[in-house]
Symmetry: C2
Subunit: 250 residues, 2 copies
């Protein structure tokens, strides 16, 4: 008798972005598994096991969750944002693909969530209002040349670009390299928005341009949005400007 | 004394995808404004005004909402999915940009939601697990040549591609044209998933490939996901296969 494996999106930091489905899955689970700061966001419930681990062990965490579900447990693997976007869902299915055949019989349910770019966009106005792409700058699992190729085509295609994982201790110059590469294809005045710690008390938005942006402003909790030709800024007095991307092609 | 304008994402059809923030905004609003099927999804509350309109009048709807908020009302404009992704948020900010200066002083709050591609991805496995882009095939507001250019760069950049608005009565061959264009740049065996009516009782998933896909299977409620080189299918017995995109570059 096998159990259930929920892969649950908690959304960005603000708990008001939780969906009803995610809440139900967290309530039903016997075991909560995830990166420590995400597990810490799940309300403690008596009798529920909590297994918090380091950020780098995604595949180990996925295997642990799958093994427990195979033993008949109801397990929730938790992710910030949407588990389907640069998060735990791909790691779990990768583990299934390379694991014992029996894992394919499991009941695996993904509960989507609000991803970081959507929360950032909501704060800014509507920068993702037209065609956009999402690129992870993490080069742990892909060569930097692949990232450069994607940045180039995203720029040439005139997409709004949301950059995930823009900084890390291992590669602090990553975002500076990405900005430098984008400058080869996009005008210097291209809008850049840095959405920092969205949903937390220290939330901050910085507006800049591709030529003026300071890479040192970008940390691990920053979501970077590069505008397209149709991205516009609405100036306001006494309040933060709004940014949106017109639905019309320019 | 001006009011508040909430731009609220209802998520795809299943109400379990609503966020707590969206629920609160719907509860607080005096006026609910939106495309008829979305307004119909909001629980009726005594004393709340409901203004349902046709799909094509987004800017008129935005102006009506802004005018009411200026009169001091608490207004909620509702969208399916995420209002920030091919939905009402860009229309509202476009109206503000082109409207009376006083509209810029309004308190406008966007409540993000689960977008169609995320719900589709959750059902499929984790196809958006790595770099992806979202393209609207609607050519009401942009020339088809712009769409073709974006499809080309999305393909050349090896992005997973989520296609919104793939069909309409006005242009029934739109999705067939898009598949034909993508075939110039991508191998025929490229994975194609059609996620139909996700979250509704008649929900259906169809797996195919770029060379074999039948454009007639795509209707207005279909979200199309085109795989990248790292997209894989996990075969299962007696259950639907899973699709995920590996976090490793191939």
């Amino acid at each position: 008798m096998s159990g259930v494996l929920h892969i649950v999106g908690l959304g960005p930091a603000d708990e008001r972005w939780l969906t009803l489905e995610a809440q139900e899955a967290l309530r039903d689970a016997q075991d909560i598994i995830g990166y420590e700061p995400y597990v810490a966001r799940v309300p403690v419930r008596e009798g529920q096991t909590r297994l918090a681990s380091d950020n780098r062990v995604e595949i180990d965490r996925a295997k642990e969750a799958l093994s427990r579900a195979m033993q008949g447990r109801v397990v929730a693997v938790v992710s910030g944002g949407d588990p389907g976007v640069f998060a735990m869902a791909a790691a779990v299915f990768e583990a299934v693909d390379n694991g014992p055949r029996a894992w394919r019989e499991l009941d695996i349910r993904v509960a989507p969530g609000v991803s970081a770019m959507q929360a950032a966009a909501a704060r800014l106005g509507a920068p993702l209002g037209h065609d956009f792409c999402a690129i992870s700058l993490s080069d742990n699992l892909k060569p930097w040349a692949v990232i450069e190729k994607r940045l180039e085509h995203a720029a040439k295609g005139d997409f709004v670009i949301a950059l995930y994982n823009p900084a890390s201790r291992a590669r602090p110059t990553r975002i500076a390299d990405a900005f430098a590469h984008l400058r080869k294809f996009l005008p210097g005045e291209t809008f850049v928005s840095l959405a920092k710690s969205i949903g937390r008390a220290k939330e901050e938005i910085i507006f800049s341009s591709l030529e003026a942006v300071d890479p040192c402003e970008v940390d691990m909790s920053t979501l970077v949005i590069i505008g397209a030709s149709g991205t516009k800024r609405i100036s306001r007095e006494g309040a933060r400007d709004w940014v949106y991307t017109s639905r019309k092609a320019t």
